[in-house]
């Protein structure tokens, strides 16, 4: 299908000022560019979890798998293994992907499966009306932690580097040009691409005033150096007051899980013969 309207008629229920609008706009622009380059959007699949981010599946007019909370990545892995012609993009939340489905994230990085994971990291549960997530700062007062959290946040950039991800980036919804480049290059990357997107939650964690003066572009950083990527990843730990680097931390090329796992399919008659041969061998 060409020239389709990329935004569906489904009523949008994100709060005014929600960072998800920026991501939606960015994805729409990327899809338009892909189509302009002659790529069919019929071969693009969006997988979303559960949470505010996940409404993207209803709002973008492309193939979508609106999955369960925390379960975008195994679904995306299965889709990619089923059909290597498909471009698979996961929109995940931070509660979704760093709490409920963290095991899947680590394994996707470890396997280097060729999918792109965008984490809408607003550092709060929005849809369940304001509880802390794995990236909320220490002492965050949410509805389940009224006296403040008693645990430090995860640093997902560092975690992904340690897990073997071959494309690790951080974007910010108020730096949309850079965000678009990071996601586009992530989709183009052969292997597992991870983009942590700092996104403000207009209602429960409106952190723009914190982020905007602190962010800077990793322009001079060499993403081929794993050690330097680790150092840059530690510059800001999602908790302490520090400058926040944005951009591509690390990129490497390794064979992907999908390439290694591929098994050639077989015609039904050949299979039946293989079954008969096996039965024969058991006599």
């Amino acid at each position: 299908m060409t020239g389709r309207a990329l935004i569906t008629d489904v009523q949008n229920t994100w709060c005014p000022g929600c960072g998800n609008f920026s991501l939606q706009h960015t994805l729409k622009n990327i899809l338009t560019e892909m189509e302009n380059e002659g790529r069919s959007l019929d071969n693009v699949v969006l997988v979303s979890g559960i949470g505010c981010h996940a409404k993207m599946a209803d709002y973008l007019n492309i193939n979508s798998f609106y999955s369960l909370h925390g379960r975008t990545i195994p679904v995306a892995t299965g889709i990619r293994l089923a059909n290597p012609d498909l471009t698979v993009i996961c929109c995940c939340g931070d509660g979704d992907c760093y709490a409920e489905g963290l095991d899947h994230l680590i394994f996707a990085a470890k396997r280097n499966i060729d999918i792109t994971v965008l984490v809408h990291n607003n550092r709060v549960y929005g849809l369940t009306t304001g509880q802390y997530t794995p990236t909320s700062p220490l002492g965050f007062r949410g509805k389940s932690t009224p006296t403040g959290t008693a645990e430090f946040p995860l640093n997902p950039i560092e975690l992904m580097l340690a897990s073997g991800a071959t494309y690790v980036a951080r974007g910010y919804t108020k730096k949309m040009d850079q965000l678009k480049t990071l996601i586009r290059n992530g989709i183009a990357h052969r292997g597992f691409a991870f983009v942590d997107v700092l996104q403000i939650c207009a209602t429960f964690f409106p952190a723009a005033d914190y982020y905007t003066p602190r962010v800077y572009d990793l322009a001079d950083h060499d993403p081929a150096s794993f050690d330097r990527a680790c150092a840059k990843a530690r510059e800001w730990d999602y908790n302490s007051d520090a400058r926040i680097p944005l951009g591509l931390f690390y990129q490497a090329t390794f064979p992907g899980f999908d390439e290694r796992m591929a098994t050639q399919g077989m015609a039904a008659e050949l299979r039946e013969k293989a079954i008969r041969d096996l039965l024969e061998s058991r006599i």
Partner: protein, 550 residues
């Protein structure tokens, strides 16, 4: 009925299962139908393992209490199984490790003489058994040549050396049957799935389903399938649903504990209407339970697993032959109706070995999946008369394929609108009606034993074998539903017509099948339960049924 039973035992790590398989093949080549039961504790080395191989003139699916041969690789094999021996039981033992009456072979000396490695020690025991059983050397040689993948010549020398040392203690007569393929229940399920068009098998190891994962992983190139072992059972089922969305026929395998983790995915399959086959091989529960022992306590769990209401197929094959046939049917039905389909074996079936008669095997099922005709604007959940929405796969030109775990409209968009929610619920449930009608075209309920007898045994799954022998002995009818969801109430009532006394036999503590039949007005007069992890043996069940019918 002419029959023979052989028990082989040793320590975990002694290769009892593969030695048992060789004994089974020897009996197979003497024209016997085979059932092999393998008993082992949940550890890697040291504990007592044993296999009982029963050969009979007619097809069998259970063991007898007594055995005619004991092959002892450990002292425990002789001491623990003393009660299973009769006056004519012939014992063949490894004289280096075991003190016993019967005939000993110094395996160490045989290996030294033949300059063979320790791993070939079991060939000495097999060779000794063959002589003790009066099996012609030609048969031993043929079986070794077919079933020993490496070093067959040296293995044969080892076997022959032992063969020549022993005398025939108990001649096993030949039967007239043609040798048949021997398959474990899990292998039969795997082959059935492949015949049903399996593209991908996804599983996390859990006894007693693991051997299915191992079998398919080993055969993946031969059958052109993808086999994935992900990080946990949650990933297993979600990955399989990803395969299904991409148009690939996927199956998952696990046991009760792993299935607990899969239930959110089962409900997703129900809501988003994904075809998927789930093999849930039962072991003794609750919780970790007895990992390597059997049970039938997951019927009601599997029947109700997953939040919400949606159609599902459950089949419980009674032996490897049924497993081969019904696994293919399960895959076919899953895709035809876009529903989860369960295969519900237990440890006895999964890890037992059976003779499988492939002569009557139905042709490979190619399946008729309703596909989108390409008319403008694809609706994944089009509300059709049958409730089945035509499938399009992502990547299909001009089709936007949207699947959704939320309540959704025909296009797959999330909805909370009351009328739409009701309509789509009814659409999904309408698939039940077609499914019931379709399944009624299959023989869903087996009638064995004395067909018209007023006394009837009711069982499901792997107890088919033991129940049918008891039924024959006592002149009873045996009724075994293979399909358990949709519940084949019409076929079951017909099969039970004229029953005066109904005795339900199950390997669980609460009579789950009887609970299910009660909902359909079929009340069991007596319930015979076993829940110690061990399968019923013929003698133990015979005594209980005899008491129940009197």
């Amino acid at each position: 009925m002419r029959e023979v039973s052989v028990l082989i035992g040793g320590k975990a790590g002694d290769g009892i299962n593969s030695a048992g398989a060789m004994v089974a093949q020897l009996l197979n080549h003497l024209g016997y139908h085979i059932y092999l039961y393998f008993d082992y504790p949940s550890l890697i080395r040291g504990g007592h393992n044993f296999a009982v191989i029963r050969g009979a003139e007619q097809s069998v699916g259970t063991c007898r209490d007594t055995v005619d041969f004991v092959l002892a690789l450990s002292q425990e094999t002789v001491s623990l199984h003393r009660e299973q021996m009769h006056v004519g039981t012939a014992i063949v033992f490894n004289a280096d490790l075991v003190k016993s009456d019967g005939q000993g072979i110094s395996v160490k000396s045989v290996l030294t003489v033949e300059k063979a490695p320790g791993i070939m020690g079991n060939s000495a025991i097999i060779g000794g058994f063959a002589k003790a059983a009066g099996i012609d050397w030609e048969i031993v040689e043929a079986v070794f040549r077919s079933h020993i993948p490496k070093g067959v010549e040296l293995n044969l020398k080892v076997a022959q050396c032992a063969y020549e040392q022993l005398v025939t203690a108990h001649q096993i007569e030949r039967c007239s049957n043609t040798p048949l393929p021997l398959l474990t229940g899990n292998e039969a399920i795997g082959l059935g799935l492949v015949r049903g068009g399996l593209d991908a098998y996804v599983s996390y190891p859990m006894t007693p389903s693991s051997s299915l994962l191992h079998f398919l992983a080993e055969q993946k190139e031969k059958f052109g399938i993808t086999v994935v072992h992900p990080e946990n059972e949650i990933a297993v089922i979600l990955m399989a649903l990803g395969f299904a969305y991409g148009g690939k026929r996927a199956a998952v395998g696990t046991s009760g504990g792993g299935f607990c983790l899969m239930t959110e995915g089962v409900s997703l399959a129900g809501m988003a209407e994904f075809p998927l086959v789930l093999v849930v091989s039962q072991r003794t529960g609750p919780s970790t339970g007895l990992p390597t022992y059997t049970g039938q306590s997951e019927l009601l769990f599997v029947l109700h697993a997953g939040q919400g209401e949606f159609p599902r197929l459950i089949v419980a094959p009674g032996d490897a032959q049924e497993a081969l046939v019904w696994s293919a049917i399960a895959m076919d039905i899953a895709w035809k109706y876009q529903v989860p389909a369960f295969i519900l074996p237990d440890k006895t079936l999964s890890e037992g070995t059976y003779s499988v008669d492939t002569a009557g095997l139905p042709a490979q099922i190619t399946g008729s999946v309703p596909l989108w005709d390409g008319n403008p604007s694809y609706h994944r959940y089009a509300d059709t008369l049958s409730g089945i929405s035509p499938l399009a796969l992502p990547g299909t030109k001009d089709a936007v394929v949207k699947v959704n775990s939320y309540a959704h409209d025909e296009s797959g968009y999330t909805t909370e609108e009351a009328d739409m929610v009701s309509r789509m619920t009814e659409k999904r449930l309408r698939k039940w009606e077609g499914l019931i009608a379709e399944m009624n075209g299959y023989p869903q309920v087996n009638i064995l034993g004395s067909a018209g007898a007023p006394g009837t045994l009711l069982c499901w799954g792997s107890t088919k074998g033991v129940c049918s022998e008891v039924a024959v002995e006592l002149g009873l009818r045996l009724v075994q539903p293979v399909v358990l969801s949709p519940f084949p109430v019409a076929q079951l009532k017909k099969a039970l017509e004229g029953t005066k006394k109904l005795i339900c036999v199950e390997e669980n503590a609460t009579a789950q099948l009887a609970t299910l039949t009660e909902q359909h007005g079929i009340i069991a007069d007596k319930k015979i339960m076993r829940y110690d992890g061990r399968p019923f043996t013929y003698e133990s069940l015979l005594a209980k049924v005899r008491k129940a019918v009197s």
